[in-house]
Amino acid sequence: MNAVVLGAQRALQRVLRPRLLAALGFGLLACVLSAALERKLSPVGAVDRALLRGSFGILLPLVGYVAFSRILRDGGMDALLRPISRHGASGRALWIGVAAVLLAMMTIVGTMFAGATVLCARTLDDPALLADLPRSSSVGALAGIAYGAWLILGSSLGRAGGGRKWLLLLDLALGVSASALAPFCLRPHVASLLGGEPLLEQSPMEATVLLVASTLFALLAARSRVAD
């Protein structure tokens, strides 16, 4: 059987576990509650606050981290791939299948978090809803892919994939300040695309390009660490 398909099956088997789906469901519920709370506090700017602070400031990275820890059973990518690759399957082909499923999962999570937040932070009769929903969802999808790629890279660093934690902590610590390292983090670009203050006055197009470049860099770096 094709090793890419085997890798995808291996990852899907872990993603479709009830406990993981429940964790993702809780994340979605938290997005909804945070958006509803923001709207109740003040309807003006509720969407921006809910997206920037709750859904994408904390929940997406946190839920992504929890999901990866459950899928990889607190181990690294290698621990997931070795039971198959030791029988002669190509480790890199397996990795492609696993990475594709994990990125797809994070894309769906990002899209749903953004969609649910916008729907709950705006009222249904809000004229801006129709325009905001697809725009925020597409940014959510891009943010999901970007965080997914970083988590995949983090999972291939350290003996038991401990790099995940450090990459997210770096993103949290450096991404909120206007430090020289902020452009290398995901947080300011995602915030800029969601309507937050742009980093170094960059345009949305520049923020998108930087997010895509960061995603590609993380995936290539992660792949280079996988043994065939």
Binding site: R82, S85, A89, A227
Partner: protein, 285 residues
């Protein structure tokens, strides 16, 4: 000539050590179970060592799927390929090496038929290892087998059959068996390497402290002493009056002493309580 080479391997509390094994049966006897497990994981290409490399005929086992396909392995802790049942899991493992191989017939032949329908993740560790051993021994065109404590599976698989399978494979492939049980090393025979505190007994820093002498404790000490004295390469001290159950054996190397003692014990069917390399504590680093 087929060769399994562990070059300058170093990992947690392991090595650096270099072992080269050719076609035939090599038994690694280690004093620490965790160290042995790590070493065999590396030798099977299932773990990347901190330093050094494991290779089969020059091909790195960790990075080359082709090399791993030619190697069958039983690890200290086994995880079968993820599938709904043992039947499917074993079929997948075999199919990755040789499409069309029949895993069900293989497991039934070894007496593991009742496990076929079970979920591999719900098996006991010993059952998973038993399935993995059957798969390893059935590796098509195997150039090497790396087996961790196969005789410890005696409650599930016939030990005599395991031993025969190892020896049969050893006629054409490199077979490396690791164990911490001297009785198992005695039952298997083959060339012996001793690993003490993660290093080869003859090569690590502890080698300086090792006298080329071993203490043998057995209920058949007198008979054993007599048989070992027949070997011109060994020097045997046995005092029946003072220590009726102990004898001291000197030889060229620790490994050769142990190999010879275990061979005699196996051939004559004698009981062996202990076989311990002797350290001169003052000479230790």
């Amino acid at each position: 000539m087929t060769e399994l080479a562990l070059d300058e391997i170093a990992d947690d509390r392991l090595g650096p050590l270099t072992i080269r094994c050719g076609v035939g049966l090599t038994v690694l006897v280690a004093d620490q179970r965790a160290t042995l497990g790590r070493l065999l994981d590396i030798a099977a290409g299932a773990r990347r060592p901190r330093r050094g490399r494991a290779s089969l005929d020059g091909e790195d086992l960790y990075t080359s799927p082709e090399a791993r396909r030619k190697l069958g392995a039983l690890l200290a802790e086994e995880a079968l390929p993820p599938r709904a049942s043992v039947r499917e899991s074993a079929q997948l493992a075999l199919a990755l090496r040789k499409p069309g191989a029949d895993a069900e017939a293989l497991l039934v032949e070894w007496g593991l038929g009742p496990l076929l329908g079970a979920n591999p993740e719900r098996l006991r560790a010993e059952q998973r290892r038993a399935v993995a051993l059957c798969l390893a021994l059935a590796t098509p065109h195997a150039a090497a087998l790396v087996l961790c404590d196969p005789l410890a599976l005696a409650s599930l698989l016939d030990p005599a059959r395991i031993r025969d399978a190892c020896w049969r494979a050893a006629t054409r492939a490199v077979v490396v068996v690791g164990t911490t049980a001297l009785e198992d090393a005695a039952a298997l025979g083959g060339e012996l390497e001793l690993i003490l505190r993660g290093r080869l007994a003859e090569a690590g820093p502890y080698a300086r402290g090792l006298a080329h002498e071993a203490l043998v404790r057995s209920g058949h000490s007198a008979q054993l002493a007599e048989l070992l004295r027949a070997d011109p390469d060994l020097e045997v001290s046995f005092d029946a009056a003072r220590c009726p159950r102990e004898l001291f054996v000197r030889g060229a190397t620790q490994a050769r002493i142990c190999e010879r003692v275990l061979e005699v014990v196996r051939q004559e069917g004698l009981a062996l309580d202990a076989l311990s390399p002797i350290m001169r504590l003052g000479a230790l680093p």
